[in-house]
């Protein structure tokens, strides 16, 4: 229970202290908060696995009046992944932001924003109240926008504003949905809403919330804000933005469609959502294929990967819900989200270190880095394996589950989209990989320390381990799920 509170409160207090305390002590406070939150996340996961789901009605107010926080398998999986990515980003941020010439704003703003982002993410993962979720993702967006704009460059500012417009529009759509739900049912707690009488406005509410969250998740065709924003932010920020932020709104979508209003989902609507997902996979991959900056390639890859996450809807929802393959598809999607988070963060951190060495992230500038910084190159390669979905990685396990479900459901189109997406991913990730592997003499450049290089490697390794040791995470995911994953199909 205390861990449940700590994952929310520790980063918030850390953020406030980092703002309030001057210079060095602010930094120390931030680090204390980071370590505490990481520990709390692990503790929370341990307690959920060993003792079941903790539930906290804030101030002892039970719903429908009060707000409930609850950690199920999905929550703790996301929270632990978040904690890992955040810690890794923070570890590299120390190096990448230190002694920068871009002025004190970055050094000052990064730590509070990052901790705020973390708190908002944890809040979204734990909340069981639709309005509370609104507050959470709004806070998340604000922190994320701040991180994008942190360097103060004109392009970054424009990207931040663009991001802000999409995010605010999404928030308002979501809010409109929340208002409709409350108007119809007089309650916003998920636990209460599950047992509601369906109302006429539910469809509209779900439509509004879905489109709003799609816009925040950067699903095609609302993805255009993402590449400039993620490509323009400093690398540790990009890692967090790409790996974590879209997952928050995606988790809300999952909860809406599968927990709150599964009765509303029609096959046509589910197919429509998945169609957008498929379009995102194809378009994002093609766009990544033609980029000439590594960070943009990685960012467009996020667009494509987000598309995968939406393919699960027709496989696990609607008419498929009670079918044997639904659990596999759902698990696969969450696994995809997790492994993508780890791998994408590792990729951005690796690219960030390359940029730091070469001063640019143009594809042509990447020659020789594999020899000079083998660990980051290896990290990039391992992440690529996960992103492409090759074994043995979390990405592969996820893909296998989703594809099996797709074939079992007779909806093999989604499986083919996944297969094509994997191939395209291989194509666009091969370009930086081959460039990095090319021989060139970089002995004149100052290289980051081995400890620094090890950070992305550890994250990428985690994504691989997720594929090899996947049975543990699987059982965890089943906690709190109505339909659990039986022995596959």
């Amino acid at each position: 229970m205390s861990a449940l509170v700590a994952v929310l409160v520790a980063p918030l207090i850390g953020a406030l202290s980092a703002v309030a305390l001057p210079g060095r002590s602010g930094r120390i406070a931030a680090w204390v908060a980071i370590v505490t939150t990481l520990a709390a996340a692990v503790a929370l996961a341990a307690s959920v696995i060993s003792q079941g789901m903790p539930r906290l009605a804030v101030g002892s107010w039970e719903p429908p009046v009060g707000i409930v926080l609850e950690a199920d398998g999905l929550s703790i999986a996301m929270i632990v992944m978040t904690a890992l990515v955040m810690t890794a980003a923070a570890l590299t941020a120390r190096h990448m932001l230190a002694g920068d010439t871009k002025g004190p704003r970055i050094a000052f703003g990064f730590w509070p924003l990052m901790l705020l982002l973390w708190a908002a993410l944890n809040a979204v993962f734990l909340s069981r109240d639709l309005f509370n979720l609104y507050v959470g993702i709004e806070l998340l967006s604000l922190a994320a926008i701040g991180l994008v704009a942190i360097e103060g460059k004109p392009e970054a500012l424009a990207a931040a504003i663009r991001y802000m417009i999409f995010a605010l529009a999404g928030s308002l759509l979501y809010l409109a949905g929340v208002v409709l739900v409350y108007g119809a049912h007089g309650a916003l707690d998920i636990g209460v809403l599950v047992g509601r009488e369906p109302a006429e406005t539910d469809g509209l509410a779900l439509a509004l919330m879905t489109v709003g969250l799609m816009s925040k998740t950067a699903l095609f065709p609302f993805h255009v804000w993402l590449p400039p924003a993620h490509g323009g932010a400093p690398a540790p920020a990009s890692a967090m933005l790409s790996a974590l932020v879209p997952k928050a709104s995606y988790v809300i979508l999952l909860r809406l469609w599968f927990d709150v209003m599964p009765d509303q989902a029609t096959d046509a609507a589910l197919t429509l959502v998945a169609t957008f997902g498929a379009a995102a996979v194809l378009w994002g991959s093609l766009a990544a294929l033609v980029q000439s900056r590594v960070k943009l390639i990685v960012a467009y890859s996020t667009v494509a990967q987000i598309g995968y996450l939406f393919l699960v809807f027709p496989l696990a929802g609607g008419g498929s819900e009670d079918q044997p393959w639904a659990a596999g598809a759902w698990n696969g999607a969450v696994f995809l989200a997790l492994s993508h988070g780890l791998a994408k963060a590792a990729m951005f951190l690796a690219v960030g270190q390359w940029m730091k060495v070469r001063g640019s992230d143009c594809l042509d500038e990447m020659e020789g880095l594999a020899t000079a910084m083998p660990m980051t190159a290896f990290a990039f390669a391992l992440s690529s394996i996960t992103i492409v979905g090759l074994p043995p990685s979390g990405g592969f396990t996820a893909k296998y589950l989703v594809m099996t479900s797709a074939f079992a459901a007779g909806q093999w189109v989604w499986a083919l989209v996944m297969a094509c997406g994997g191939l395209l991913a291989a194509a666009y990730l091969y370009r930086p990989m081959a460039m990095v592997f090319r021989r060139a003499d970089l002995s004149a450049f100052r290289l980051p320390s081995r400890a620094q290089q090890a950070v992305p490697l550890a994250l990428a390794g985690a994504a691989i381990i997720l594929g090899i040791a996947s049975s543990g995470p699987f059982e965890t995911l089943a906690i709190g799920r109505p339909q659990t994953a039986e022995a596959g199909l």
Partner: protein, 487 residues
């Protein structure tokens, strides 16, 4: 112990790989000791296992990854055949590679991926479920890439890209096939053949085709063969690995698994997909030989020869008659032994005489008698000249073709033999009968290069000479076929 042995065998290459990656370039002795030690230990463990299996022991280890995703390691006779082939050839290749690289740069990376490659191959051999097969198959694809690109120049990167641009689409196709099939049968284990009666025949045919595309690419079937000649820019030990120890062998092994353990002979016959596969293999045999004729580089000629020869294995598997199965399985070993000899020799010619083109071979026979004798043995064996191993496979495949009522196989074998002769004999002629250019500097004072070559050539000779004995590849293949595939 019984459960641990397969894992130990895998670890003998994984552990050296993991350590080697982090070694500094200068720690030659440690690295060599690790790799040689790993290779020796693997051979030792396999010998232990051979005796245990002969005594009736069976090995099975499973690691559940996720619901429906089971990593199953087990030993059957086929796995044992493949794993002992790859382990013993790996030992030879390791000795050769250590001598080949000497003090060249980037050795830690090379030997790391080299061991990883063999780890994957061993995994493929020991896989007891379709999905574990796929996982190791992909690992093999990935760990081969840095080896092909090892020289890090434009040419080798191009070759490496070509390799991946074949491998990844095909593995995607393979994944689709696996997923499609498993979505209706559940996880497929090689221990008990899956019940395919629930899947309609048309789908099954499509799935079979997808499987063949997926695994056949590694076996370099036409038209998925383009990567193999391109990959010739890699260092000689890598070529040996690609052509004899690991990659194409994994492809051929995969086809055998698909035909016999996933679909089963009867089902393949019922679906009528065996003959098209045999025809495809035949086209590959002929096409590879024709293209080999046109090559002017030794290694390229050998590469096309591999394309042609590996399809013998596929042909045997596809015909599925008793003799054909035995011939195909035996050729798995025979081709490995002969081809590794040839590539070792090509490497020695390159290293010690600077010769890559066919013209350069002129007169090298007397300058480098050991190497050239081995080369001649390998080449003659490839042609199918008795008593070197190749002729045994040919006889068995021919009879197998007749047993399967496919007499046309004979014409394929005949044409291929003639073509093999047409592209190999001129090389031998040049070696022994042409005058060397006066300024050629050639010697073979590199025992660590020559010794593995001689060992491989001798093995190829003995495999044919003692074909009828029980411990020969042929004897083994017969055992496998009788035990597992022919009731």
């Amino acid at each position: 112990m019984t459960g641990l042995l397969p894992i130990l065998i895998l670890l003998t290459s994984l552990v050296p790989a993991a350590i080697t990656f982090f070694l500094a370039q200068e720690s030659y002795r440690l690295r060599n000791a690790l790799n040689l030690g790993g290779a020796l230990m693997k051979v030792g463990l396999i010998v232990v296992m051979l005796f245990a299996v002969a005594g009736g022991a069976s090995y099975e280890t499973d690691i559940a990854l996720a619901p429906g995703l089971v990593l199953l390691l087990r030993i059957d006779a086929l796995a044992l055949l493949f794993v002992s082939l790859s382990a013993s050839l790996w030992l030879l290749t390791t000795i050769y590679a250590i001598a080949y690289f000497g003090k060249k740069a980037e050795q830690s990376r090379f030997f790391g991926f080299f061991s990883l490659c063999v780890f994957a191959t061993t995994g493929i051999a020991l896989s007891g479920s379709l999905i574990s097969f796929f996982m190791f198959f992909e690992l093999l694809t990935l760990s081969t890439w840095p080896l092909v690109a090892h020289k890090q120049n434009a040419a080798s990167l191009k070759a490496a890209r070509s390799y991946l641009s074949y491998a990844l689409p095909c593995s995607t196709v393979l994944l689709v096939a696996i997923v499609w099939l498993e979505s209706s049968t559940g996880p497929i284990l090689f221990t008990d053949p899956p019940d395919l009666s629930g899947v309609d025949p048309v789908s099954l045919r499509v799935i079979f085709a997808l499987f063949i595309i997926g695994v056949g690419m590694k076996a370099a079937i036409v038209p998925l063969h383009g990567w193999l000649p391109a990959a010739m820019v890699a260092p000689a030990p890598v070529s040996a690995l690609l052509h004899a120890v690991a990659v194409v062998k994994a492809g051929a092994f995969g086809v055998i698994r698909v035909v016999y353990d996933v679909f089963g002979v009867d089902r393949v016959e019922e679906l009528g997909v065996g003959v098209p596969l045999a025809a495809l293999a035949s086209v590959t045999i002929i096409w590879g030989s024709l293209r080999a004729l046109q090559q002017t580089e030794i290694k390229k000629r050998l590469a096309y020869s591999t394309i042609s020869q590996v399809s013998y294995i596929l042909l045997g598997a596809a015909l599925a008659s008793p003799f054909a199965v035995v011939g195909g399985l035996a050729h798995l070993v025979h081709q490995g032994l002969m081809k590794i000899t040839l590539f070792f020799c090509a490497g020695i010619y390159d290293e010690r005489a600077g010769v890559r083109s066919i013209e350069g071979l002129n007169g090298l026979g007397w300058r480098m008698p050991w190497t050239s004798t081995c080369f001649s043995l390998g080449a003659l064996g490839m042609i199918g000249l008795p008593p070197i191993a190749g002729f045994v496979s040919k006889i068995y495949l021919g009879i197998g073709g007749l047993q399967a009522d496919a007499a046309w196989v004979l014409w394929v074998l005949g044409a291929s033999t003639l073509l093999n002769a047409a592209y190999f004999l001129p090389l031998l002629y040049r070696l022994w009968y042409c005058e060397a250019a006066p300024d050629v500097e050639a010697d073979e004072t590199a025992p660590a290069l020559v010794a593995p070559t001689v060992a491989a050539a001798l093995a190829a000779l003995l495999a044919g000479l003692l074909a009828a004995s029980e411990i020969s590849p042929l004897g083994w293949a017969t055992l496998i076929a009788e035990r597992d595939y022919l009731q």
